[in-house]
C-alpha cells in the first residue's frame, strides 16, 4: 500500500509519534489541525447554538436577554434544533457550544443535549451555573459534556445583585463545590463590566478558591437592539487594572516594557483585506434563538436563514459572506498584529475594512504594562 506523504491527519499523527509527543498533546494538536483544515475548506466543524434568549438572571450588560418589559421571542422547538443539528452534521459538525440566555432554562434542553451526546459531538455548555444543582449534576455525570464554561459575576451577594439583579453568590459557590466534588470539567470566566465592584480582588479570589481554572474575558459584547439595552465596552485602563490584579493574585510579576521600544500601531490607511481572520463563517457558525444563522454571536448583522433554505444553503451563503467580509487593512503588517485581536466582532464599530482604534490603544497599553509581549521588545531588566 502506498505511503501517504502529503500533510493530512494521518501523516501528522505519524510525525508526532516519531517525535515522542504525548497522547494528550497529540490529541490537542490533531484537533488544531482539524480546525485549520476545516477553515481552509469551509467546513462547519463548530456550531454555537443559542437555545434561548431567556435567563434566570438579569445581567445589566447582557447582549441577548431582553430587559424587563421587552418582548422575548418564543424559542425554537427541540425538533427544529435537532433537524438543524443533523443537517449540520452532514456537512461536518463535530463540536457544539450550547449557550443562551441561560441554555439550561430551555425547556427542551435534555432532548437537544442527549441528541448531541448520542451523535458523538464534543459539547461545551456555557452557563451561569445556577441550575447546576444536585439533580442536574447527576445528569451530567451520567451524560458527561466535554466542558462547562461558567461565568462568575460577583465576589459576594451584593456584587451579584448589582450585576445580575439576584443575590445568588452563596448558591453559586455551593454549586461550584458540588461540581468540583463530581469531577466535572469546569472552567470559570469573568466578564469585566461597568456594574461590578471597583475592587475586583474579592471576585477573583472567589474564582481562585473554587479550584477551577479561571480567565478574564477580553471583550464585552454590545447588546442587541431587541434587548432594549445600550452600552459599550469598558475603557482600556479598566481592563488593564483588572488584569494587573489577576496577575498579582496568580503570584506572577509584571515587567513593563521599555517605553522607547514600544512602537506606535500602524497608522497607514491601508486597503481593506477580505475575510474573517478567525473561524467565524469559515469553520464555525452561530444559530441564534430565533433560528437566524450568523458567523458568530458577535456578528449578528451577517445572517442567513437555515429554517427557510436549509442548513446547507444557509452555510454556503454565510461562508461566502465571511470570506469576503472587509477586514481591517491597517492590521496587516502592524507591529502588534500577532498579539492584537483581529476578531471582526471586536472591530464592528469601525468603518468596514478598518480597525477600531480603541483596540489599538488597548493593545499598546497592554504591551506597555507588560501584560502582552511583542516578540522583539526587550525586557529592560534582561
Amino acid at each position: 500500500m502506498e505511503e501517504q506523504r502529503e500533510l493530512n491527519a494521518l501523516t501528522l499523527l505519524d510525525a508526532m509519534k516519531e517525535k515522542g509527543v504525548s497522547p494528550d498533546e497529540r490529541y490537542r494538536r490533531l484537533n488544531r489541525y482539524l480546525e485549520a483544515n476545516a477553515r481552509r475548506n469551509g467546513i462547519p466543524l463548530h456550531g454555537s447554538l443559542e437555545l434561548t434568549s431567556f435567563c434566570n438572571l438579569d445581567c445589566k450588560m447582557c447582549y441577548v436577554h431582553p430587559e424587563k418589559g421587552m418582548r422575548a421571542e418564543a424559542p425554537l422547538s427541540p425538533e427544529t434544533w435537532i433537524r438543524l443539528i443533523d443537517e449540520a452534521r452532514e456537512m461536518g459538525l463535530l463540536r457544539v457550544s450550547l449557550t443562551g440566555g441561560e441554555c439550561l432554562t430551555y425547556p427542551g434542553f435534555d432532548d437537544v443535549y442527549l441528541h448531541l451526546y448520542e451523535r458523538g459531538m464534543k459539547i461545551r455548555i456555557l452557563t451561569n451555573g445556577l441550575l447546576l444543582d444536585e439533580k442536574r449534576i447527576a445528569f451530567f455525570r451520567r451524560y458527561r459534556p466535554t466542558s462547562f464554561q461558567i461565568t462568575l459575576y460577583g465576589g459576594d451577594e451584593a456584587e451579584y445583585e448589582a450585576v445580575t439583579g439576584h443575590r445568588v453568590f452563596g448558591k453559586m459557590m455551593d454549586h461550584l463545590a458540588m461540581l468540583k466534588e463530581a469531577e466535572l470539567p469546569v472552567s470559570l470566566s469573568i466578564t469585566p463590566n461597568p456594574f461590578m465592584r471597583q475592587d475586583v480582588r474579592p471576585l477573583l479570589e472567589a474564582a481562585a478558591r473554587t479550584g477551577f481554572p479561571w480567565q478574564i474575558n477580553s471583550f464585552l459584547m454590545p447588546p442587541r437592539a431587541e434587548t432594549g439595552r445600550s452600552g459599550g465596552d469598558l475603557p482600556s485602563d479598566r481592563y488593564i487594572e483588572i488584569l494587573r490584579t489577576a496577575t498579582a493574585l496568580r503570584g506572577e510579576e509584571l515587567t513593563p516594557a521599555d517605553p522607547a521600544a514600544v512602537p506606535p500601531p500602524s497608522a497607514a490607511a491601508a486597503e481593506p483585506v477580505r475575510g474573517t481572520s478567525c473561524g467565524a463563517g469559515r469553520s464555525s457558525f452561530a444559530i441564534l434563538h430565533n433560528g437566524i444563522m450568523c458567523p458568530c454571536v458577535g456578528l449578528p448583522d451577517i445572517r442567513t436563514e437555515p429554517l427557510t433554505v436549509g442548513f446547507r444553503e444557509a452555510w454556503n451563503t454565510l461562508h461566502e459572506a465571511a470570506v469576503n467580509l472587509p477586514a481591517p487593512g491597517e492590521c496587516r503588517g502592524c507591529a502588534y498584529e500577532a498579539q492584537c485581536t483581529l476578531c471582526p466582532a471586536n472591530h464592528r464599530s469601525a468603518a468596514p475594512g478598518h480597525c477600531d482604534r480603541r483596540i489599538c490603544d488597548r493593545t499598546l497599553k497592554m504591551v506597555s504594562a507588560g501584560l502582552m509581549r511583542l516578540p522583539d521588545i526587550k525586557n529592560p531588566c534582561e
Binding site: 500500500m1 501517504q4 493530512n8 491527519a9 494521518l10 499523527l13 490529541y27 490533531l30 482539524l34 483544515n37 476545516a38 481552509r40 475548506n41 467546513i43 466543524l45 461536518g92 463535530l94 451526546y117 448520542e118 451523535r119 458523538g120 458527561r144
Partner: protein
C-alpha cells in the same frame, strides 16, 4: 465481525475519522484517524463480515496480493479489537 453501532465513519476535508458516539465517546475519549484502506475496510464492517469477505473486498478494490491484504486486515482488526471498536457475533 462488525463495527460497533456506537461508531460513525466521518469524512472531513480528505481525512477519514472514526467518531465514537454516546457513552462510547466518554469511554474512548478521542477519534481514530484512518488511512484510505482502513476507511474502506471499516465501511465494509458496518455489515457483518468474515475474514474471507474482507480480504476479497480489499483485493477487488486495490491492486495488492492476497498475503498483503490478509496481513493488513489482521493488523487493523487487532487494533480495532484492542480499542474495543468491533464486536463478534455471539459474544
Amino acid at each position: 465481525m462488525k463495527l460497533k453501532e456506537q461508531y460513525e465513519l466521518v469524512s472531513l476535508a480528505g481525512d477519514s475519522l472514526l467518531i465514537p458516539l454516546g457513552d462510547e465517546g466518554v469511554r474512548f475519549h478521542g477519534v481514530v484517524v484512518l488511512n484510505d484502506e482502513s476507511a474502506f475496510i471499516l465501511e465494509k464492517l458496518k455489515q457483518e463480515q468474515s475474514m474471507d469477505s474482507l480480504v476479497q473486498a480489499l483485493l477487488d478494490e486495490y491492486e495488492i496480493d492476497e498475503a498483503t491484504a490478509e496481513t493488513a486486515i489482521r493488523d487493523l482488526l487487532r487494533q480495532l479489537d484492542e480499542y474495543g471498536i468491533t464486536e463478534t457475533k455471539g459474544c
